[in-house]
Symmetry: C2
Subunit: 137 residues, 2 copies
């Protein structure tokens, strides 16, 4: 954790109100649809963990990297990567080499999702979930 680079940008976003929209407007409706789609995506198993990997690390990640970091079946991982790529959160670049190499990169869009995971980290430092509970609450 410790003072991540996102912090400044994050604060900017919070303080600037440039993104506010008239409620009930067309844009607001689009936002709701996007939000629904996003939550639906995040709701799928492992999606969050995968994005978390891209959000915390910074370089490109390969199939094998994720496979061992996330504890996920290869077929499911394949599906998630495809979904995330289709939706524009990841880019996929295949190099025609031997051994073959495929690199996945987070897009700008995905990187701007990073604060979410970073704050999740902050939260985790300050709280526990009950079953593992210690002295919290």
């Amino acid at each position: 954790m410790v003072e991540p680079p996102q912090a400044e940008e994050f604060i900017e976003t919070i303080l600037s109100n440039e993104t506010a929209r008239p409620p009930g407007s067309e844009q607001a409706k689009d936002d709701n649809r996007t939000m629904a789609a996003l939550l639906n995506l995040l709701g799928k198993k492992h999606t969050i963990v995968i994005l978390h990997q891209f959000a915390t690390g910074d370089g490109p990640l390969r199939f094998g990297d994720l496979e061992e970091a996330v504890d996920i079946a290869p077929n499911t991982l394949s599906n998630r990567l495809e979904e995330l790529t289709e939706v524009g959160l990841l880019t996929r670049q295949a190099y025609d080499e031997i051994p073959p190499r495929v690199e996945y990169n987070a897009t700008e869009k995905a990187k701007e999702l990073a604060p979410v995971f970073w704050y999740l980290g902050v939260w985790t430092e300050r709280h526990d979930l009950e079953p593992i509970a210690t002295d919290d609450d």
Copy 2:
């Protein structure tokens, strides 16, 4: 959206480094376990949307409220509410009346998760997901 009350508190959290921990410490390991458990929970279908409801609204929510707001099967909703309660993110209070009434409230812990959902809203205002894409990227 528009300048949520969480913003100030959020900024405080970002600026104060009080939560930082030595990496590799015992606490850090606990954090990782908690994080894994949290992500695992958030990964389950509808969990995020449900928490989002509690994060945006402020009063208590009843079974029926959620059922119509979230578009979820009652058995699944029942499961989620139980999970979230067990884990200490929600409290459940049943009133012995007719008709019966059960109120769910977000705990402090859950409320401190609100910035996540709020920022998700900010993100949604600034981006789209590809299939619905407009002028983004």
